[in-house]
């Protein structure tokens, strides 16, 4: 008879129980990582699109910022997605890292030379630094607690987001923090984008090699676009009117 009756899932188990068990397995926690990573990547794309409006001048940029703040439904939908995705992404990372360090209790005497990209090997480190940066970034531009002196109000009483950005990035060391964080984010994305497809079982002999290169290009391209803003402020391309 079929030994496949050994299958661990008891028949009639509710879907939710089976999903919970799946998501705490080694492959399942990576699926959580991939799905939440995709959400965060999508957010970055939208965030970049908004940020680049700074090049259209103070009026356009402030108008965009006010429109975004005025649309509570959209704002909270995005915040909700982030509030759900970030802890799950973190939890999946902690869970698999714990399994991984337990899986090799005795280290090699001669360092493991099996080839792998440094970016791929340092996902946990870059992820943690990006998380710390994320908190600083919120404190700077959203909560206005990191550098409150940079916050000026428009005649309408709204926050002048454009001048806050220019004032912020005019300080070289603040810009440096942003540039370094973006370089690490580029590293993280350059492996993460390819990796999320692999975790979801999306592989094609014809397109996966292209995806690997695209992952590098998208990761670094996205972050270069983000970095362009503090650089433009420091060079005086983006300045106060």
């Amino acid at each position: 008879m079929s030994q496949a009756t050994d299958a661990p899932a008891p028949t009639g188990e509710p879907l939710i129980g089976s999903l919970l068990r799946f998501f705490s397995s080694s492959i399942g926690s990576k699926v959580v990582m991939a799905l939440t990573g995709a959400v965060l990547w999508g957010f970055l794309l939208a965030h970049l699109g908004g940020n680049l409006m700074v090049y259209f001048g103070p009026e356009t940029y402030n108008h965009y910022a006010q429109a975004l703040k005025g649309n509570a439904a959209l704002l909270w939908a995005v915040r909700g997605a982030l509030i759900a995705a970030i802890p799950l992404h973190f939890w999946a990372a902690v869970q698999s890292s714990a399994k991984n360090s337990a899986a090799r209790p005795v280290a090699y005497a001669y360092a493991n030379r099996s080839p792998a990209r440094t970016a791929a090997k340092s996902m946990l480190v870059t992820g943690l630094v990006i998380a710390a940066f994320f908190v600083y970034h919120l404190a700077h531009f959203t909560w206005h607690v990191a550098h409150p002196e940079q916050v000026k109000l428009l005649p309408s009483g709204e926050v002048d987001v454009y001048s806050m950005l220019v004032n912020g990035f005019s300080v070289w060391w603040i810009s440096a923090i942003y540039v370094v964080a973006q370089l690490l984010l580029a590293q993280h994305l350059s492996h993460g984008i390819y990796s999320l497809f692999q975790h979801l079982g999306l592989y094609g002999a014809s397109w996966t090699p292209f995806l690997k290169r695209a992952s590098l290009a998208i990761g670094y391209g996205l972050c270069a676009a983000f970095i362009s803003i503090p650089v433009a402020v420091l060079l005086g391309v983006v300045k106060l009117p």
Partner: protein, 248 residues
């Protein structure tokens, strides 16, 4: 040529073990790596010392028994080569060589360079088979298999279960091995029937054995003596994901 070897010596599973230095004299460059160790062992035994224990069997690169990490690379790191097929001509006179066992919680050291790989056997027992009821043997070619599917099954079936993938992986993950077995059976009509149960049962056992998770570094693919692609890992992920929603 003459070589300086640093070899992991461990008298038994409960011994702490340590790296020990040996000198290999007059090594013939045509020798395989295992033959070089044979010569070192003969000399050790002639001096009344304990020979270095290492796994080996066919010495033709197809059995999957030889297992040692040479200078930080499983099987020495030459593409598509097992330790028994690695020849001393790849080394230079005066080289220092570090030789260690596979390192993984799921592969405990039995002695010196010999590790217990029965974790792989237990994973196979959970799903690395095709259930066939007894009866008359079916006619050959009665069940046509498209060439593309047969090729994919054969590529994955090349896995010799040596464990180099686990040894190379930063995370000590066995995903390439499990993926290869699932892909090998899943690409044939006989094995396709049980593919979801198989994916689930084998990965659950893999977790229970204490292997790490896959971070898609592809270190496994780089060192696999049968050059199996990480494609099989994606296939396993896909099967497991589908299994969730099929309620199987």
């Amino acid at each position: 040529m003459n070589l300086k070897l640093h070899v992991w010596r461990q008298s038994g599973p409960n011994d702490a073990g340590a790296m020990k230095e040996y000198v290999a004299k007059n090594v013939n460059p045509h020798m395989s790596f295992l033959e070089m160790l044979d010569v070192v062992n003969e000399e050790l035994q002639s001096k009344g010392e304990e020979a270095i224990a290492f796994d080996h069997d066919c010495r033709e690169g197809i059995c999957g028994m030889c297992s040692m990490v040479i200078n930080g690379l499983p099987h020495g790191g030459h593409r598509g080569v097992t330790t028994c097929q690695l020849h001393m001509r790849h080394f230079n006179d005066g080289d220092e060589i570090w030789i260690e066992p596979w390192r993984a919680k799921a592969f405990p050291v039995i002695k010196d360079l010999v590790v217990d790989r029965s974790a792989f056997d237990r994973i196979i027992q959970k799903g690395g088979f095709v259930s066939v009821n007894t009866g008359g043997a079916p006619d050959a070619n009665a069940l046509p298999i498209p060439k593309k599917e047969a090729d994919q099954a054969f590529e994955a079936a090349a896995c010799i279960g040596c464990g180099a993938c686990v040894a190379a992986c930063k995370n000590g993950s066995a995903m390439l091995f499990v993926g290869a077995k699932a892909s090998h059976l899943g690409h044939t009509p006989q094995g396709d029937v049980e593919r979801f149960d198989r994916a689930r049962a084998m990965t659950m056992q893999m977790d229970a054995e204490g292997f790490g998770t896959c971070s898609n570094l592809s270190q496994c693919e780089a060192v696999c003596p049968k050059t199996i692609s990480v494609k099989v890992i994606a296939e396993l992920n896909r099967d497991l994901l589908k299994a969730q929603f099929k309620g199987k």
